[in-house]
Symmetry: C2
């Protein structure tokens, strides 16, 4: 395989009567010329149609296939990248995109995290232990009520308090007032405790408001924000990474259609590679053991890919959401190591006092990380 | 059910041991508070948690469930709408969103098509027959080569020649040069034939370029453009509908993860309702009988929903992509009626002469529409 082409690896599940060669050729054509052989100039076909580079059988009907593509299809434009990765083939069946390798020249056009793991740790002043994040929720609370919860979580000692992803621009808790009051509640708590908790407001909004909210967050002194790029379009993340100058913690809401069993992206590629390329500093994914059907192996692979060497791109912080409580946090550290952030909500809110529940968890986490 | 709430209908497939009541309550909580009962004020819960309104069994493990939501969660913001429709539940399994009814006040905040069926027909000067669209392709051709194909399709008499969805900003056919040359090729053909063919360039691009391309298309005299909102973010479509002043023909690339069998949206809701709400004038969907696994019944239901009464919103033109050729066009008209546009590519390009193939198809279509 030549390294001057884009290499995309697929896991293909064959349906009855389908041959792997046929399915691979369908992809190579569907994602490029979308026309029968012979209906375009031969030299264009040779350059543009994907080239099937490798076919290997993993089990009965499951194959791993690598197809290489002309980088000129993709260039540095995210919509062109997404279209080649999973454009029309998204409407077929039995295709999982499991890896993508870009030539260096193309890779270097992607921003990657501006802050990444080191920037987030510096902002939190925390080394050698997992970070801890929780959310001010639920949606429907007033600004005052949300600020009280931010204060309790900060007093309990989490590293980051974020808005719930469902808390966006609702009139019940208007953004500008929310960012000021919640940030103040966290600063007040820090002053009392000597802590360093950060507040990340959720800036997810239509494009015209998004920029205003980022500016308001920065003006209020926030070091980071929460954003849901699957709601906004993935290129929005790249634009924010290039221009916002603020830590970007990314939420996976609305992403589930992209990693269905047997069709879509592998979670490791989507969360571990693609979001990092586009500039996420922290990547929230749904953790095994929580409310969602994912495996711990998938999560470990997301972690690995967020942290592995990748050109000149900084590593991004894995953020395991859900499935963790005071009893299990030690096991999760044993499994995932310390280079990640835990996002914990329900197990804290289910207890009678939010601040005490948070403090107990923070202590358990520090004990296990030292141990 | 009260009409001042947002009603969302789901088709739920139960897995072993799952009860429909439990699954419905999971959705009602996951899409709103995401917290255990009792961990938020009672009045907030009563307002915010989704209310299960109706459960009806369709077959063994398949249920239809309607849940109503507080409109204050959604308001007029598309990211808030998408998050309530299919946010965190996208990461669960066995949930198909099949309908959404918005209260009038909320519905009236969505633009709907600015031109719609009537505007597209006026631009094409065509009544009482299906419209015909084809694409200048494949990606990888030069501007000159694409312009020749545009000219041939226009001389053959299609109503609309669009750029292929894969033809975006690639250096091999730069946008500004492309829009001028392709538009000129179509105007020249119209002058020779007395026809009214329109050229719609593909403006899909990162936000900063998108606006430039729309402006360039308008300057070149184009009446419409092609755009792929699943690549750009669905709110982009709404913004274009509100501000671009040009006919928006919408392509479904990258949408397939959102309508998987057993999980996602129904095609009728996604293409027939949601894209119309957001302002698509024409909605391309993959037609039955082509390269994609869809049924003719699904397609007919998309057509119906694009055209049915919906508040003050204009109907949008259904655009059936693929599966149609000179032999079958009559059957498709019998099945779908005349209020749609056919998008035909491969079956024309597979023939020796593009202009002749197009003319033969146009004649067959007109014959069947009259008959």
């Amino acid at each position: 395989m030549s390294t001057d082409r884009v290499l995309i690896t697929y896991l293909l599940t064959l349906s009855a009567g389908e041959s792997v060669e046929e399915k691979a050729r369908t992809i190579a054509s569907e994602q490029t010329v979308e026309l029968p052989d012979g209906s375009y100039p031969k030299d264009v076909g040779e350059r543009v149609v994907g080239r099937v580079e490798e076919l290997s059988q993993l089990s009965g009907t499951l194959w791993r296939v690598t197809i290489s593509y002309w980088p000129g299809l993709i260039e540095s434009a995210v919509p062109q990248l997404l279209n080649v990765l999973f454009g029309n083939i998204s409407m077929l069946q039995g295709i999982v995109v499991s890896d993508v390798e870009l030539p260096d020249e193309l890779l270097s056009t992607y921003p990657g995290p501006r802050f990444g793991v080191a920037g987030l740790r510096e902002a939190c002043d925390a080394v050698n232990r997992p970070l801890l994040c929780s959310a001010a929720k639920p949606v429907g609370l007033s600004v005052e009520q949300l600020a009280v919860r931010c204060g309790a979580l900060a007093r309990g000692g989490v590293d980051v308090v974020k808005d719930d992803h469902g808390v966006m621009g609702q009139a019940v808790a208007p953004f500008r007032e929310r960012v000021q009051r919640c940030q103040q509640a966290v600063l007040d708590a820090n002053e009392d405790t000597g802590g360093r908790t950060l507040y990340f407001p959720n800036v997810t909004a239509p494009a015209p408001q998004l920029e205003e909210r980022i500016t308001a967050a920065r003006s209020a002194g926030c070091r980071g924000v929460l954003v849901s790029p699957f709601l906004l379009g993935l290129d929005t993340l790249r634009q924010l990474a290039e221009s916002s100058g603020i830590i970007l913690l990314v939420h996976p809401t609305f992403s589930g259609g992209l990693f269905q069993v047997g069709h879509g992206f592998t979670p490791a590629l989507l969360f571990g590679r693609l979001l990092r390329l586009l500039g996420a500093d922290g990547v929230i994914y749904v953790n095994a053991g929580g409310r969602f059907p994912v495996t711990a192996a998938d999560c470990a692979e997301i972690n690995r890919r967020l942290l592995e060497p990748l050109g000149k791109l900084r590593p991004a912080m894995p953020v395991a959401g859900g499935g963790v409580d005071v009893e299990s946090v030690g096991e999760w550290i044993d499994r995932y190591g310390t280079e990640l952030m835990f996002l914990i909500g329900s197990s804290l809110y289910a207890q009678p006092d939010l601040e005490t529940a948070t403090r107990t968890l923070v202590q358990a986490l520090e004990r296990h990380a030292r141990g």
